[in-house]
Amino acid sequence: MPAPVSPGPWPARLDLLQSATGLFLALFMWLHMLFVASILFGTDAMWRVARFFEGYYLFGRSLPWLVSLFVAVVFVLFAVHAGLALRKFPSHWRQHAAYWRHMRGMRHGDTTSWLAQVVTGFGVFFLAPVHLYLMLTHPELIGPYESADRVWSGRMWPLYLLLLLLVEIHAGVGLYRLAVKWLAVGDKARMRLMRLKWGFTVFFIALGLLTLAAYVRLGIEHAPHAGEPYLPTWQRTLS
């Protein structure tokens, strides 16, 4: 019997890195959704959230490059995660055919949801960089009117609509899979996790649709003045 040859540390490191970047990105997407949804509490609320991340309440003035810096970090992690996940994609036709045949026969939720993860991941791979690049180069254009103008007058809403669905499905399935990958869960806990996953996915998609609708409405209203920045109500009454 030949003695085993050590695979070295890289397969372990890459597996951990794929999980860790996925965990970070999925949790970030959920928080991101909550921050963006601040528009539902009014334009001033969203303005405050946007300024908060520019360090306005810490340094007394807006530093949009802080946002750029964070976007750059997210962009890199996104690319690393995508590159690592690509290793798992079926590459040969034989592998595609084998998985389809297997999935159709098994009629098994976790097997089917993996294909959903591949397809949504592939979609995010193309669509997310458009948004990331915009945020990287124009971090100052995050605000009630600025964002609404981008969504409506900038015709970004179809991309955001698609991205919302893809990201929420991908992140929900991904977090569930991270849990069953790394934690010892019994059958009961797994059922609960699955229900939780669906709950989160439905909640965030619903919240996302409401939020996008709010920006679209605001964007339509503000279209004649597209490009004009938003001033919070108290600054307007002062001036």
Binding site: S6, M103, G105, H108, W114, R177, V185
Partner: protein, 250 residues
């Protein structure tokens, strides 16, 4: 009311050059308590003596009668026809060498896997057959025994999307074998040794947690839990491994 069951069974003999894989239909009246094993035996006795399928124990102990039952792997002997629709399609287990019809050679696959993973007890010193056996903590012995319940039927491999795409993947059966020896206090190997056997993309890091294995295992082994434990142990080992005793491998 008695149901009439239609069985579509894959017929093919790879050793016969003239044989073309095809589905052949057999019709049987369902009887009370009928298992697929009983149905197949009746088909062979009453309708077609040429149908190949394997069985030994008829009680989910030997693992020979695993097959795809309406697309899902399972043991014929412990599947009641009452749990299935009236139209039942039986295919041989994928991923294993076909002998004929529903009969596959899981033994050859299991042997290759065992040899590759060194899935046997590695003792540090020669066993003295005249001495009393070293005592084992009862809880530990119970845990080892629990994992020893694996009957190597191959259902977990056939239920694994990863194994279907990547034939070199060790599957849940391979991982649970090593989990068993890892638990065994008589085995002299440490996690560094197990890492060398399992710490790559054909081993535990290739597992994509599709959990088909967990959901079809006829012995209800806690495969998900075992694989998660192994993944942690191997990941820890992998992180600690940079430039360590076993070399970097790149």
């Amino acid at each position: 009311m008695t149901r009439i069951l239609d069985f579509d069974i894959l017929r093919h003999n790879p050793r016969d050059a003239a044989s073309v894989p095809r589905l052949q239909r057999y019709r049987l009246a369902e009887t009370s308590g009928m298992t697929l094993f009983i149905a197949l035996t009746r088909i062979r006795e009453e309708l077609d003596p040429g149908v190949h399928f394997d069985f030994v124990c008829r009680a989910a102990v030997c693992g020979s009668c695993a097959m795809l039952i309406n697309g899902r792997p399972g043991l014929a002997c412990r599947t009641l026809t009452a749990t299935l629709p009236a139209h039942i399609r039986l295919l041989p287990l994928p991923g294993f060498a076909l002998i004929a019809d529903l009969s596959v050679d899981t033994g050859r696959w299991m042997r290759v896997m065992s040899e590759r993973l060194h899935a046997w007890l590695h003792v540090a010193t020669a066993v003295d057959l005249d001495a009393l056996e070293t005592r084992m903590d009862p809880d530990r012995a119970e845990a080892v025994y629990e994992l020893d319940r694996c009957i190597e039927c191959g259902c977990c491999v056939a239920a694994c999307g990863t194994a279907q795409m990547r034939p070199d993947f060790v599957g849940a059966v391979g991982m649970i074998k090593l989990a068993r020896f890892r638990l065994d206090p008589r085995d002299a190997r440490d996690d560094g040794d197990f890492f060398d056997l399992l710490g790559d993309d054909d081993g535990v890091f290739g597992c994509m947690s599709l959990l088909g294995c967990q959901d079809v295992c006829p012995k209800s082994l806690s495969l998900q839990t075992q694989i998660a434990h192994l993944r942690w142990a191997m990941a820890r080992r992998g992180l600690a491994k940079a430039g360590a005793d076993h070399g970097d491998g790149i």
